[in-house]
Structures are given as C-alpha cells and as structure tokens.
C-alpha cells in the first residue's frame, strides 16, 4: 500500500474543505455562525458589557457578581429564549430581570436545540448553590420533534450505542454545508414522507411525562416549578395561514408531522400543560392566550422578534408577580 493510492481521498477532502470555506465565507459575511471564521459573529456583534455568554457564565443574560446571593429565577427553555438573533440585553430573560428589579436575578437557562429532557438533566446536575428558587419552563416544539421521531413514545436505547453526540457529529452539524444540505435536500425529501396530522394520545402522554419529570426534578432539588404554555405566530389550525418559510422550517427537523399536525399538537400540548399545572397545583402562565396570533411579535412560527421578547417578559412578570410577592414580599412590583 502506498500513500499514492490515498491521493484520491485526500484530494476529495481538500475539495470538500474548499467548498466549506467558500460557503462559510459567504455566510460569515452575512453575520451567521460559522465553524472556520471565528465562531459566532452575531454573538460578537451583540456583545454587551455585563451580559453573557462570558467566561464562567454561558447564559445569555445578566452576569452576576461571584458573591451574588439574590434569589434566582431560571427561565428553562430552548432557542425561544437563547435566541442568538436578539442581543442578550434585549431577550425576554434580561428584560424580565430589569422589570423585576434588584431583588431577583433572572438566569436565561436556555440553549438552542435543548428540549425538556435537557432542561431536566441540567437541573438535576446543577450545583446546589447555583439552584434557583423558581424555575419557569417554556418548552414545547423541541419535544415535539423529539417525540415525533419515535411516533410519540419515549424510547430507551435497545443496544449499547452512543451515536450522534460525538465531537465530529457536533462539528459537522455546525458547518454551513450541512445547513445548506439539510435545507436544500433533507427538508425537501422529508416533506414526501407519510405525514400524520398530530401525534395523538401517545404524543400527549409522552409530553406530559416529560413535564412531570421536570416537576419531579424541581421538587427533588427544592425548586418551585412554574409552567408556561407556548405562543405561536398564527392562531387557529389552518395551515394555509402559515408563511412558506415557517412551513419549510418544520420539515427541516422532522418529516412525519404535517403542518396541520404541528398546529394541532401545539394546541393539544398547551392543554396538557394547563391540565398538569392544575393537577400538580402549580402556577401556569398562559403565554399562548396572551400572545398567540400577534404575528408582529414573531420572526417565524414560535421564535420572537425583539418586540416579542419584550412582550413575553411582560407576560412573565405579570404571571410571576403573585408567586414572587408571596416568597419575596414585594419583588416583581412594576418598576
């Protein structure tokens, strides 16, 4: 065997790398996150003194002093609140922090792509002195994509594998070529799958069990859970009201739920949240009733504009007020 024989492979790799460089250069110029050109230009352009992400503080919210012992409120969520399209100082967590004043520290305990299982896992693994008094859960569609892959069932791995969570897979998923390919090919192919108009009883049961697991984790750690329903840009269940990019975005992640299925499932699972909150005697902040259908607040089906973040912060402040009043004696009064 000679290295000469490997030339065709090295050459192919070089071509792939060159292609990635070209698309990344273009993407970076437009302000997107790229692997080769220094991480996250959006993040850099939005760097705000005093706000994360910063060394030792990965959250996109106000960085406290190391000896800050104020009661904490976590907003446990996914990309809805992590949202790199909005500067950290302007997202709902930071605005809520401002609105609640100096007595409370609001931590944006959210990450793009996190689903509720991830939030629960983080909560269980967090050090005791960093735990909040209240954890507000705002999480739904990432669980929808996760449960849709298994037909609505929570599954356990059948054989001893740990695929998909390695360094190479994570790096690959950050490349611009990958983003282009998933949009141009994967989403188009996925839209030809057999699509269900909802995830049925199994899906609702799976989601409810995730919510209850989050509540259990909170209670185990002495944290007060608060549930929120999810708001979306369009009300009703008519897929025709969706914009083309909203529709395509759905198939980028999962192909076996139709647009109608997404709308139905969001509504059904919001009802699950209402029911679980009632059964468990928890505070529920009905963001769905407050904001759904106000298209000007959304940049797609479920992600907010800056204005939307402000509106969400107001709904959360109003919702949390009674709880904060009871536990802190006055924090949360409008400032």
């Amino acid at each position: 065997m000679r290295f000469q024989q490997l030339k065709v492979i090295y050459f192919s790799l070089l071509l792939l790398l060159a292609a990635e460089c070209v698309v990344e250069l273009r993407a970076s110029g437009r302000g997107f996150d790229t692997v080769l050109f220094g991480g996250d230009p959006l993040e850099r352009s939005q760097a705000t003194p005093g706000y994360g992400p910063a060394p030792g503080w990965p959250y996109r919210s106000h960085v406290p002093d190391p000896d800050d012992r104020r009661p904490r409120v976590w907003l446990a969520s996914g990309s809805y609140l992590h949202d790199v399209h909005v500067p950290p100082a302007s997202n709902a967590a930071s605005r809520l922090n401002l609105a609640l004043g100096a007595e409370v520290l609001v931590v944006n305990y959210s990450g793009a792509g996190w689903d509720m299982t991830h939030n629960t896992l983080m909560l269980r693994g967090e050090q005791a002195d960093a735990l909040p008094g209240i954890a507000v859960l705002y999480q739904l569609t990432n669980d929808l994509t996760a449960l849709a892959r298994t037909g609505g069932q929570e599954t356990q791995r059948q054989s001893g594998t740990n695929n998909g969570d390695d360094f190479f897979s994570r790096t690959l998923e950050r490349t611009t070529s990958y983003a282009h390919l998933t949009t141009a090919i994967t989403a188009r192919l996925a839209s030809h799958s057999v699509q269900e108009d909802g995830l049925g009883v199994q899906g609702a049961t799976g989601y409810a069990s995730r919510v209850r697991d989050f509540i259990r984790a909170c209670r185990e750690r002495g944290v007060q859970p608060v549930l929120c329903t999810l708001a979306r840009s369009t009300g009703g269940q008519d897929p025709a009201t969706l914009r083309p990019e909203e529709r395509r975005n759905m198939f980028r992640y999962i192909g076996n739920v139709s647009a109608l299925g997404w709308l139905r499932t969001i509504d059904r699972w919001n009802d699950v949240l209402r029911r679980v909150a009632e059964e468990e005697g928890l505070l529920l902040i009905d963001v769905d009733r407050a904001l759904t259908g106000r298209r000007e607040l959304f940049r797609d089906l479920v992600h907010f504009t800056e204005e939307g973040h402000q509106a969400l912060a107001e709904v959360l402040r109003a919702g949390l007020q009674p709880l904060l009043k009871a536990s802190l004696g006055g924090a949360g009064e409008a400032k």
Binding site: S12, G160, N162
Partner: protein, 467 residues
C-alpha cells in the same frame, strides 16, 4: 460509529493513512488494526470491549490447549468450555429476559407463579456476530480443520476486525487468519475497487434503504390500520428492498473497507430475490450466516444423511435457531419456522436441476419464491403479533387509494430495477469511474459525500446492528 457517519469517515481516513505508513511492518500494522478495531467498538459502548477481550483471551488459551492435546475426552471438554462461555454470554445478554418470561408463561397454567428477575443490560453491539466467529475457530480447531493461531495479536484481530465486527459478514478463521499471516495485499485495482464498493454500499443504505423506511415503510408498519391495501402491500415490498439494501449495503461497506486495507472478506449476498426456490434463496441471502448454520449446526445434527423426515427435522431446527439468532422475540422464531418449513418442502437440488424449466417457468418460480420470502418479512418486521392480523386483513381487504408519495413508488421501482436487471448497474458504472483523471474522480467522490450527507434523513442505524 455508524458507517454512514462523518465520525467514521474521519476515523477510516486516519486508519488508512497510518496503515500506509506501517504497511511493510507486519507487527506494527496488526497492532494498529487491532487498536483501531477496539477504538471502533468502544465508540459504541466502551464498557463492552471487555466482553470481546474476554472471548478472545479464553478462546485463544483454549486454542493453544486444544492444539497440544491428543486425548479426545479432554479435547471435547475444552470445546464444551468454549461453547459454554461464548453461548453463555450470548444467552445472558440476548436471551435471558425472553426465556425468563417464556418460562413464567409456561408454568403459570400449572399453577406455578414463577417470576424470574429481569436484567437491564444493554445488548452489546455485534455480539451474535463475533460469538459465531470465535466459535467457528474453536470448532474447526477441534475438528483439526485448521492450525492453531499462536500469535495473540493476530487472533485478537481476527475476532475484532472492525469492518465486519458489528454486523458481519461472519468471517471464518480458515479464511482470515492465513491472510493475516501472509500480510495484506493492496493493489491500485483492489484499493479503488474497495472505495467504489463503499460508495455502492452507502448508496444502497442512504438512497434506497433509509428513504424507503422514512418515506413510507416505518409509518405504515407503525399504524397498519390507517392505510389502504395498496399501501400495505407496497410497504411490504418496500421493506423487502429496505432490509436487503440496508444489510447488503452494510456488507458492501465492510467488504470495501477490508479491501482498501488489503484483506478479503466473504460475499454475503448474491441478489437473493432472483432465487427460484427457498434453497437457492438461502444460498444468496446472508451467505455467511447460512453457511455457518449449515456447517456447524445442520451437518452435525445429521444433515441430509438420514431419512427424509429426519432431514426435514434438521432443516426445521436449524432455521428455527437461525430465526432465534436474530433476536429473542416470538416473531423471529416464527420467521425461522416459516423458512424451516418452506425449506423442508423444497425438493432437493438434483431434482430441481433435472427439470430444466423454461424461462417463463423460471420467472414464475422466482415470483413465487419472492412472495414466500415476503410473507417471512412480514413476520420478521411486525413488532406486535396482534398487528399481524390487522396487517394481513387490511392487505386482503382490497381497499384502494394511497397516502404514500409518488417519490416512494419511484424509489420502490428503482430498487426493484437495480435488483432484477441482469447485471448490477452500480457495479458496471463503477468500473468507468477508474478511467477518469484524479481530479474528476476526487470531485465525484466529494460530490457523493455531499449528496449522501444531504440525503441522510435521520433514520435508524443499520437494521442488523441490533442482532
């Protein structure tokens, strides 16, 4: 580390590069391949590497003892130790829970409420494959069919060689150990052929098997009551082509990767749906398993040496165990029984050859055989036996209309075309690629990587990984 993952691509290029650097140093090369094989296996689950190491060390030591032992009783005892250890581990991880439940169910009508405890160990990936591989070594050694391997590195590499470690083909010691002693052989033709074979396997896996599953088969089998007869039938055809392309795609990648490293591993498939009867089907489908079962189970049971009824019983028992090899579930047992029954009913080879049928009869026989195999796939694929009735009654109801997309039907037609054309177009087209200049070939492979990456809908890993 799936073969169709970016992680494997990087891993394999690193192994190829280091293998080229160590090509002339036999010891270093074997150590590299052994370390790579363990790294590959540990990427699935590092804890179970100890199991392969245990099997390897025990069978290596038993092999040395067998080679130096002439007393038949002692030789038999050593073989029994090997069989007990290997089948014991396989039984514990794969079958214990199933048999614990079955024992409880059998004793309940007698008034005995025996609930044996369950274990919660995950099934080690590839355990059925490497267990059969090491067993073939000790049995062949016992039969004095092969010489003993005294080099531990070579023996360990035979057990754990990564291209075929997790889903075969099952390699025999008599085929692989001589290659390790002689050293690998990598010519330009073999290297390029291996590369083409890998891409052929990836095309089968990503473009045909995964898309058939994602676009229709999985959804139909998940809720058969929601689909028309046409959809149910087409999903069953789709599953036949999915499982063939998934498994033969994996085998192609394994054979191609081994070839690029300089080794030959046996073919596992010869277009099985072209078979005209069930015996021929089993000479074309999962060849390394069927020949293993023939040589180490069917023939020791008596093979076809006894009466006709004894032969039938042997065939039936072999296939029943072959079904159970796939997994501890009733549907695999039924699948094995179905094939065992059909094989018993199939006339012996001489009788078939004598008839020398015309083309039309051959086509009809092939169609019949394919549809008998299809019934077996229904038993194999169905997860809940209660769905079997729903599926078959739905298929026979004659309802029309379809929820499957035109793309699914197009893909099904493509899969059938590729399988039934006299010469595989993927093989024929492959040879033309070698004539292209280097930049064009590199561009083609790079383009294929992008295309396959984009088409990789998040689907299951290879079906046979679970066995």
């Amino acid at each position: 580390m799936n073969f169709n993952s970016f992680q494997f691509l990087i891993f394999f290029i690193c192994v190829l590069t280091l293998n080229a650097a160590l090509y002339r140093r036999a010891k270093g090369r074997n150590v590299l391949l052994l370390a790579s094989s363990y790294a590959f296996y540990m990427s699935w689950n590092w804890k179970y590497a100890g199991l392969i190491a245990l099997s390897t060390l025990v069978d290596y030591a038993l092999g040395l003892r067998l080679a130096g032992e002439d007393r038949q009783a002692r030789r038999r005892m050593l073989l029994v130790v090997s069989l007990t250890m290997n089948l014991g581990l396989l039984g514990l991880f794969k079958y214990y829970n199933f048999f614990a439940d079955a024992t409880g169910d059998l004793l309940r009508p007698l008034g005995l409420d025996l609930s044996l405890p369950h274990h919660s160990f995950l099934l080690p990936v590839g355990i059925s494959f490497y267990t059969f591989q090491t067993l073939s070594y000790t049995i062949d050694l016992y039969r004095r069919a092969i010489p003993c391997e005294r080099n531990l590195t070579r023996f360990a590499l035979f057990v754990s060689f990564f291209p075929q470690l997790v889903a075969g083909p099952i390699v025999r010691a008599k085929d692989f150990l001589p290659q390790l002693r002689r050293g690998p052989r990598v010519t330009d033709e073999r290297f390029n052929g291996g590369l083409r074979r890998i891409f052929r396997g990836l095309l089968k896996k990503v473009v045909i098997a995964d898309l058939l599953a994602s676009l229709g088969v999985d959804a139909v089998f998940a809720n058969p009551a929601d689909f028309s007869s046409l959809d149910l039938l087409c999903a069953l055809y789709g599953y036949a082509f999915q499982i063939y392309n998934d498994f033969s795609g994996y085998s192609d990648i394994a054979i191609g990767a081994a070839l690029m490293l300089g080794f030959d591993i046996p073919e596992n498939f010869k277009r099985p749906y072209m078979a005209a009867n069930m015996r021929e089907f089993w000479r074309r489908w999962h060849i390394s398993l069927s020949t293993w079962l023939r040589d180490y189970l069917y023939i020791p049971l008596g093979g076809s040496r006894g009466s006709r009824s004894r032969t039938h019983a042997n065939l039936f028992a072999t296939m029943l165990l072959g079904g159970l090899w796939h997994g501890a579930a009733l549907n695999f047992v039924l699948w094995g029984a179905w094939h065992g029954g059909l094989l018993a009913l199939t006339p012996r080879r001489k009788a078939v050859v004598k008839q020398n049928p015309g083309l039309r009869i051959t086509i009809l026989r092939r169609l019949l055989c394919f549809h008998l195999v299809l019934v077996g796939w229904l038993l194999f694929r169905i997860e809940d036996l209660a769905d079997l009735g729903v599926y078959t009654s739905g298929m026979l109801a004659g309802s029309g209309g379809s929820r499957l997309s035109p793309l699914y039907f197009g893909l099904l037609a493509l899969a059938a075309l590729l399988h039934f054309t006299p010469r595989d177009p993927l093989v024929r087209g492959g040879h033309l690629i070698d004539r292209l200049p280097l930049p064009a070939r590199a561009a083609l492979w790079a383009g294929m990587v992008l295309l396959l990456g984009g088409m990789s809908l998040e689907g299951p890993s290879f079906i046979y990984f679970q066995f």
